[in-house]
Amino acid sequence: MAALITQAPILIIAIPLVAAFLTPLIGMASKKARNALVIVSLVFVAFLVFALARDVVINGIHVYTLGATSPGQTIPTGFMVPVRIILEIDAMSAFFSIIWSIVSLAAAIYSLSHIANETGQTRFYTLLLLMVTGGFGMMFTGDLFNLFVFLEIASISGGALIAFRTRFGDTQEGGFKYIVVSAIAGLMVLFATGILYGQYNSLNIAILAQAIQYTTLDQIALALLLIAFAMKTGMVPLHLWFPDAYSVAPASITGMLVITSHACMYAAFRVCFTLYGAVIDAPVVGWILIAFGLLTMFIGVTMAVFQKDVMRFMSYHAISQLGYMWLGVGVGLAVLGNPGLLATYGRDAMSGGIFHILNHAMYKPLLFFTGGALFHLTGTRDLAKMGGLAHKMKWTTILYIIGTLSISGIPPLNGFSSKILIYESVYQFNPIFTVIGIIVSILTLASFTKAFHSAFMGAELPEYKGVKGVPRSMIVGMVILAAGIIFITLFPAQIVNWILHPAADALIDRGAYINAVTGVIP
C-alpha cells in the first residue's frame, strides 16, 4: 500500500492513458469488455486519488520525480541538471483531483447508454480516457510546460468529443469554436512560459516562484497566463464560446467539460498564489478577479433566464456559478498581504470559493446529465417543445429537483453551505457584493423553476406518449453525483475541515510548495 501511494501520482495519470490505447484493441473483440475496461480503470483511479488525497492531507506535499528517485538526480551521476520533470501534489491538487475522479467516473457510466446509439463508440471512450489523463495531468504537474501539454491534451480530446455526433451540424460549429479558443489560450500559455523561461532559466513552478522578480516582462506574462486560463474557464466577457461548445456536446462530456474548466481555474490559482505569490500586486489582481467575478455572476444569470435551449440555459448557469468562485478567491487574494484581514475573513472567503467549486462540480454535471436525459427522450434541446415529462422520467425529475435546490442555494442543500460562507465573508469585505450574490441566487432559482415548469410539469404531451424511460446506466451516473450532493449536505463542516481548509492554506502558504522541491535539490 505504501508503495502504491508513492507511485500513485503517476499511476493516476498513466492508467487512463494506457486504458485509452487499450480500448481500440479490446473494442475490436468485444464491446462489453471495452466498457468494463473503461469503468474498472476509472474506479481504480478514483480509489488511488482518494488514497493519495488522504496521504497528502496527513503527511504533506508529495513530489514525484519522473525517471529518477529525486528531482536533482542524474544518471549517470556527475551531470548538471537543474531540476527534472516532476509531479507535485499538494492539498489543492488533491482536492481538484477528487472532483475530477468522481465526475469522470459518473460521466463514463452515464455514457454507456447515452451514446449507445452512436457510431464510433470505441473512439469516444479513447478520447474520454485521454481527457481524464489531461485533466489529472493539469492538476498534478509541477512545471509550466507540462501544464501547457496537459491543457492541450484535455482541449484536443474535449474538442473532438464535443464534435463527436457528426450527424448534427451545430456540434461541428461548437467543437470548432472550442478548439480555436483552446488553441489560442494554449499558445498564450506557452508564450508566457517562454517569457518566464527566458528570464529565470527554469520551467519548474517552485524554482520559478523562488526566483521571480515581477519585472515588466513578468507582468505581461501574468496577464497572458491569467486571461488565457480565465478564458478557458469561461469568465465574462470571454465566455462567448462557452455555451456554444457546452450545449452541443453529449451530456456526459458537458459534465466533464465543467471540470476541465475548473482545472483551468486551478491553474489560474496556482499562477496567482504560488508562482507570483510573493511579488504579485495582490490588491490589484484581487480586484480584477472580483470585478470579473461579479460581471460573470450577473451577466451569466441574466443570459440564462433568457434561454430556451435546455443545455444552453444550464451552460449560462455554469458561467454564473463560476463567478462565485472568482469572487471568493478574489477577495482572498485582495487581502493576501494583510494577515489580520486574511485571518478574519480572507481565508473563509477562499474556502467558500473553493467549497463552491466542489458543490458546483457535483450539481452542475448532475443538471447537465438531466438535460441530456431530456434530450435522450425527446430528441430536442428546445424547452418550448417539451412538457409533462415528469410522467416519463420520475427519477430524473427527483434528481433535477435536488440539483435545482442545490444550485439555487436553498437550505439545507450543499449549495447553501458554500454560498453562506461566501456571503458572510465577502460581506465584511464589501456588503454590496453579497447583495449582488443574493440577487444572482434568486434569479438562478427563478430560471430553474421556469425550466422545471416547461420541461417536467403539466399533463403528458401527446408527442411523447410512446417514448421509453431513461436507461438505467444514465440514472446510475446521476445518482452517483446526487449521492455526492447529499453527503456534502449532511457533513459540510467535516468536508471543510478535512480538505477545504488544507486546500486554502496550500494556496496561502506558498513556502511549503517551494520547499518541497528546493529542499531536495543538492
Binding site: 515581477y214 486571461i227 466577457p237 439545507p412 458572510e424 415548469h453 399533463a459 401527446p462 471543510v496
Partner: protein
C-alpha cells in the same frame, strides 16, 4: 456540534434544518389526515374544471417556455438589447474579445507596477 461552518457572524448546521423539516413534515401529515375521506381518483372529482367550458388538449394548455416571465423581459428589454449585442456567434469576435481583455489587463498590471 452546534457551531459548525463558522464565518465570524453566523454558523450553519444542516442537522438543525433537517430536524425542522422533519417536524414540518409531521405537521403536514397531521393536517392531511384530517382531510376529506371520500375523495376518489379517476372520477369527476379529479377532472379539470375551467369555468365549466371545454378543457383544451394536453399540448395546448401547457404554458410553454416562451410565455414564462414575460413581464420580466418586457421591463428589461433595453438591458437585453444591449447584452445580446456582443453575443454574435462569430468566432472572429471571440478572438477580438480575448485580445482586448488581455491588452487591458496587461495595461492595468503595468500601470499598477509603475505606480508601486
Amino acid at each position: 456540534m452546534t457551531h459548525i461552518l463558522e464565518s465570524g457572524y453566523a454558523f450553519w448546521n444542516p442537522i438543525v434544518w433537517i430536524i425542522v423539516f422533519i417536524v414540518v413534515l409531521i405537521v403536514v401529515y397531521f393536517f392531511r389526515r384530517r382531510g376529506q375521506k371520500e375523495y376518489k381518483k379517476d372520477t369527476d372529482q379529479t377532472r379539470i374544471f375551467l369555468c365549466g367550458g371545454e378543457v383544451p388538449e394536453a399540448g395546448e394548455r401547457h404554458i410553454r417556455v416562451g410565455n414564462i416571465y414575460w413581464g420580466f423581459f418586457e421591463t428589461l428589454k433595453e438591458y437585453y438589447k444591449q447584452i445580446l449585442r456582443p453575443h454574435t456567434g462569430i468566432i472572429n469576435d471571440y478572438v477580438l474579445w480575448f485580445v482586448a481583455i488581455t491588452a487591458v489587463s496587461a495595461l492595468v498590471l503595468l500601470i499598477a507596477g509603475l505606480a508601486k
